[in-house]
Subunit: 285 residues, 2 copies
Amino acid sequence: MTPAQPDYFTEARSVEAVNGRIGHATDPRLAHVMQRLVAHLHAFIKDVALTQAEWEAAIGFLTRTGQMCDGNRQEFILLSDVLGVSMLVDAINNRRPAGATENTVLGPFHVEGAPEYPMGANITLAGGAETCLFEGRVTDLDGQPLEGVRIDVWSDNEDGFYDVQQPGVQPQHNNRGVFVTGPDGHYSFQGIKPVSYPIPADGPVGQLLARLGRHPWRPAHMHFIVTCAGFETVVTHTFVAGDDYLTSDAVFGVKETLVAACDQVAGGATKWRSRFDFVLNRVAG
Amino acid sequence: MTPAQPDYFTEARSVEAVNGRIGHATDPRLAHVMQRLVAHLHAFIKDVALTQAEWEAAIGFLTRTGQMCDGNRQEFILLSDVLGVSMLVDAINNRRPAGATENTVLGPFHVEGAPEYPMGANITLAGGAETCLFEGRVTDLDGQPLEGVRIDVWSDNEDGFYDVQQPGVQPQHNNRGVFVTGPDGHYSFQGIKPVSYPIPADGPVGQLLARLGRHPWRPAHMHFIVTCAGFETVVTHTFVAGDDYLTSDAVFGVKETLVAACDQVAGGATKWRSRFDFVLNRVAG
């Protein structure tokens, strides 16, 4: 583009000046995403009339966030989580009809290759006095049970840590397992009643939460990845009903439909019982 | 706030869910800026329907940008520059009446404590065959000359590098100096005709520019900070008229009013002559 007038940057035409520079050979999706990013980013700055000191604070915050990242810590994902961005991206990309089980965030603690167990097995290899039976059915939207569904589950231990956070303290694959449904679509396994835990709060994101008057806690939950050929994969949690943080999850992961009653069992093989049915949505086409 | 219904996160009410968490004791300006940030950020994500893969690419890009920063390199400022954010923040915070000299970005190469010289002195301590006389007047908006104006100037050398980029190669304070006007408001000094140079392009920001079909070059310019008691400080450049990159400055620093004719002088004490008058705006009150 060679404009008749050179397109110098002005406050009024800041977006056009920046977006006008994108080359014609640019990948169309990248060009579109960047053009909209510039438009929304400039709109934000104009909206709040960002000061020079606030801009400097933002540069410093982003720099510290990047420098907090290493092989075990992803502070930008935490930032995305606490701003509701991770959940929003998940929601946009996993819209389902009413009645189908909803997604929530994957979280950083999933591990490929957890052991496959027979239905009913115990995934708690160490600790966990508050034993809990998790059970339910997997069906399609018509209520027909689904066979051959792979159910990959994981949770924290009674101290709020996943096995991968405590190598050498917890046995490998503690509170993890994979189960496959039979013709009745039923699943069951024994674990512990999960407990609430805080996201890592000793970095820039934790400092931001503190300045915003927000706590870093997540309500207790069991993770599930439910996979079945011909159906959309569900990446989700079930949340322990009654948890103190259900309505204030630091990462906004809770959906009303994912809260599962967790009832105390008198004289049972486990102290608690959590029932949740999964409903899968058929892949289009 | 204790809503009658728990304010669970939904795609439709994502902004309200996140902003509803901010505590009542939060600094009001911080709360406002963060609320608007969340609103604009979520609007952007919904606008483009950001995919999971694009979100992952963004997390990776931000992480690499943070990890490129060290004591000598600020990749997040570069990112702000190439997205027009630095210029926009400068524009919002330095609105002036027509006729007053406009600001542009400070850039990373200003140094406090450059030597003060008498008017007419040469700031080029080494190199620079393309000598250039910079001169003009400093007045108020009524055209009255201003005395005691401090003019702090700096430029690159003929290879496109500032002294601080080449310690041991260029003498300290090469192409830097401070001048103070007398009663006539006149300034003059001898330097070199500045040359175009690229911003650092070997990091994530350079890769982004390449993918967007943009070059990393800045048009040739002389930096000025013009300070006078009772007047708004002007942080600006003058740009060499005719430069190839005037209408495509990688950081959007060019304003039409800042382009200064740079004329070849036949048989003069310098080969070039650049004239530019500064007009200062009185501080309100």
